[in-house]
Amino acid sequence: MNWITLSLENAWRDLRDRDGRISIATQTALLFFLLTLTFTSASIQRYLADNLEQMLGSDLVVERHGPLRRDHDLALRSLAPRVSVTQWNDLTLTHGGQWARVRLKRVDDAYPLQGTLQIGDTPVATHRASRRGPQIGEIWLEPRLATALKIRVGEMLAIDRTTLRVSAILFHEPDRLMEGHSTVLRAMVHNRSLDGDAVTSGTEITRYLIAANESQQQRVEEWVGEMLPDATVIRKSGGQHPLAGFWRRTENFLGLAAVMLFFMGAVALDMTNRRWLALMRYRHAIYASFGTPMRIGMLMALGEWLVGFVMSIGLAMLLATLAFHVIIGQLREYFPGLQAMWHFIPAARTTGLVFLLLLALQVPSFVQLSRTSLLSLIRNPAHSRDAWGRLLWSLSSVTLLAAAYSDNWLLTGMTLAAIAAALLLMLVLTWCIIQLGERWGRRRTGLLPFAFFLMRQRLFAKSAQVLGLGLCGLLLLFTLMLMRDLGGTMERHARTHDGNLLIAEAQADQLAGIQQWAGTTGSSVRTLRPFVSAQLVAVNGTPLGAYVQKPSDTFTALSEPIRLSWTDTLPTNNRIVGGQWWPAATDNWQQLSAEPEVMTDIGLRHGDQLTFQIGGNAYQFTLVASHAHTPGGGSITFWFQVPLSARAHIEAPTRYMGSMELPVGAWDSLAGLWQQYPSLSLVPLKELTERFDQTLGIVTKVTSGYAAMVLLLALFVLAASISGFSADDRRKNGLLMSMGLRDRELLWLNINEWSITALIAAAGAVMGTWIAGGLLYRDQFGLPYNPDVLWVVSIVVAMVSVVCLVGYWACRQSLKVSVRDLLTT
């Protein structure tokens, strides 16, 4: 069928045109982003599923912070035939002056329940399988730990008052699920090798590995849900990897980012569609003059569009594959062993979704094309722009994408509201400034009044340009501002520690030893605050998981025990920001104060009843006040605080958190302190800073990548907006030159036009950023919103300058038309 060949020829020819290239590039960029996200996500989901399958080391795991009571332990064992108990503690091991922070695993005789351990005699030896763990009096170290401590198999290692023989190097454990994402050094001992008190800490985790059939697993799960509100159950089949929630949130956040990029892409495509539609109308009117039915014409137009889309898929797939492999390499730090694999079905789903979205954007143009008449070649009918129809379809497409990707409708809604407000402002500003400017210039001479006159004649086109550029400016400005503020907050947080050594956790019986050590080494203890490990399990009687409506970092942190402190007087580094602080020595000990960010994140209000699990018992407190950290009085502060009188009612060991300042010479003596107290958790500030820098580095990489995508699409929008009107500009410039205007005057005229356009767009971008910041910063990112006006102004000046420069360059190109060319048009 010859018309199919003709359609392919048309498509190939149109794609080589400037508008065609912009259109392809925009579609490719959108597809690239979403396909990269899809491939990465599918690989991680597959990894998590495999991980769960292979690394649980049992059919079911019940995990909590602390061992079960005897009656609970017996009840659990009655429900499942085979149970193995493992316990984890973080402590510091020392050997010959070397020290290392370690996750120590204590196992029983039943371990491993499923699978085998892989051990060897040296860090580089051949592995051999073992169906049992270390015996009493033995310790197994992972290869990096053995290297760090400079210790070999056969040598002795002291932990507190116990000396253990290093009997093997540990390479693999069948229940490494939770540690799959951790790079902390590992060691393993028999649970009867050590005195429990020597190694207990607030971060102890107890895991009950269970081998059971499906019905037994079901019974265990029901029993845990009823009797152990602070325990987590992970099942091999139908269960969810502990990291699944974290990854899903990341994915949904990036999905929202995709919505924003799609918005920008839609603007660029709409601008190129303008000329595409004019070209197609002309072409189809001529086809109609040969008697070609409209049906064939529409099929040809659809076919040409599909060719462009298929090309975009090809390019995007290639680029996404490259990007995806790079990202997987970076993510292996969090998901060791993660493999880059092809996932055709998810990719096909994403491609299908983008196809529908881009087709939806194209529908208004197809509808207008279907109304093409041969009459347009005989006389010039007014073509309706159908601006509202186009806007409605664009909004529907964006809403469809948001529905597919966003899990946080509040964040999505706020973001779209900020954008809508900015767009409305830009529309109003454009109309007002151009109308008023034209009226002002009516009885005046000069280039500026003439510029307003010309802009007034092309008000619709100018509005479209302003909206497109303004939207890009808004997204770019907001992304850059967020990146800057996020980094700044993290840096401020990292740098406000007083002292260069954080006491993350010390037990009561270790304090005297710490003070003595400080005295002998010339160190000083700056702060020490007491706390107990407490896990928030319910709010107003509703389990926490059911109470919290949206995922957040706070909710993730509260899934683990946090530090609950007590005080009668408000600490010097806190201030009251809401509610009423309790009087000193109050009898009403069941009161609580919380940080406002925590309250906002999980939706708490003064008067709420919070239930904490502490030391195996439940305690209820009423939220009566909120306190915020103020700099200058020390960096140790707590999310939750209770009255001093509460301590007497809580049965749990007291631990301490604080900070110390060490002189240079004291660092080498730290090994001695850990030798004495292996469970003492000390973190040098340098290490804290490095951790923050690492996290900051990841955040910077992600936001930089997103900013780069925003910038790329902004360039497409700019190119489309120039290209979309280039023919009109050339004609206009040629006419003006035929009336005697010189090149230099024309350049100034165009610079005036572009400056006005860019300034209106910038005003909209700034306003939209201000609204978005006010709505999103505190509620979604937990950041205070204090815009740096000077920084914002400098970025805006840079953006306006770029737009004017590009507009100036475009004008110089269009001035190459001569009046003679105009005569032959």
């Binding site: 010859n2 072409r283 003059s289 040969f290 008697g291 070649l377 005989i378 006389r379």
Partner: protein
């Protein structure tokens, strides 16, 4: 076989800026294949609208239009499928060369020998050596000759020409007119044209004057 277009008491008006403008009222006319008809008249008389109605591009606001092909009554769509057009602005596709433009109607109808026929028509209009040239590389007269070839290549029953020499000088107009009338005679199709040019109008078999809403034989 009878191929005719009958306009029976047609009227046409349109609305603009809230005003209703009546172009003509109760016009009747029969156009036959094998004959040439020129419609002349002052600017704004409605000549192009009358041409559009006769071509089946738009319906009159009053009266009826009957299309008959091979003795059978057909609808406007079928009529258009058997018609060709020649425009004042030529309207060649700028992205196609001369032979591509001429072959286009046949390619759309699925003819495999489209380019061969196009080559022979280019030769007929004297532009065989310009086959690979794009419209912007051709003069106005050459473009219109290509447009004529494109209109006739599908052997239409009727050709509708709207000011076909309006953008051409006198000498070029004559040669284009020779081509048009020659091809019409050769193919036996009906030629209906709107023109301001008196010499062109005089070459038609019938010349009608549309003025003040009425149609009468032109002097």
């Amino acid at each position: 076989m009878q191929n005719t277009i009958e306009l029976q008491s047609i009227s046409h008006d349109f609305e603009t800026a809230g005003q209703r403008i009546s172009l003509f009222c109760a016009l009747s006319c029969t156009i036959r294949a094998g004959e040439s008809l020129a419609i002349v008249g002052p600017s704004g008389a409605g000549k192009s609208s009358l041409l559009s109605i006769a071509a089946g591009l738009e319906a009159p606001t009053g009266g009826t239009v009957r299309f008959t092909l091979d003795g059978k009554s057909v609808d406007a769509l079928t009529m258009r499928a058997n018609s060709g057009f020649i425009f004042q602005q030529f309207h060649l596709l700028p992205e196609l060369d001369a032979i591509g433009n001429v072959a286009l109607p046949l390619r759309l109808k699925g003819k495999r020998d489209a380019f061969d026929l196009a080559a022979s028509w280019l030769d007929k209009v004297g532009l065989a050596d310009r086959a690979r040239h794009r419209p912007h590389q051709l003069s106005g007269g050459e473009q219109q000759r290509i447009a004529v070839a494109r209109a006739f290549i599908t052997a239409p029953r009727f050709i509708f020409a709207d000011e076909p020499t309006g953008n051409l000088d006198m000498h070029t107009s004559e040669s284009v007119a020779d081509l048009m009338f020659g091809c019409a005679r050769e193919t036996g199709c009906g030629l209906v044209m709107v023109t301001h040019s008196r010499p062109l109008a005089m070459r038609a078999d019938t010349s009608l004057l549309l003025a003040a809403g009425r149609l009468a034989a032109a002097a």
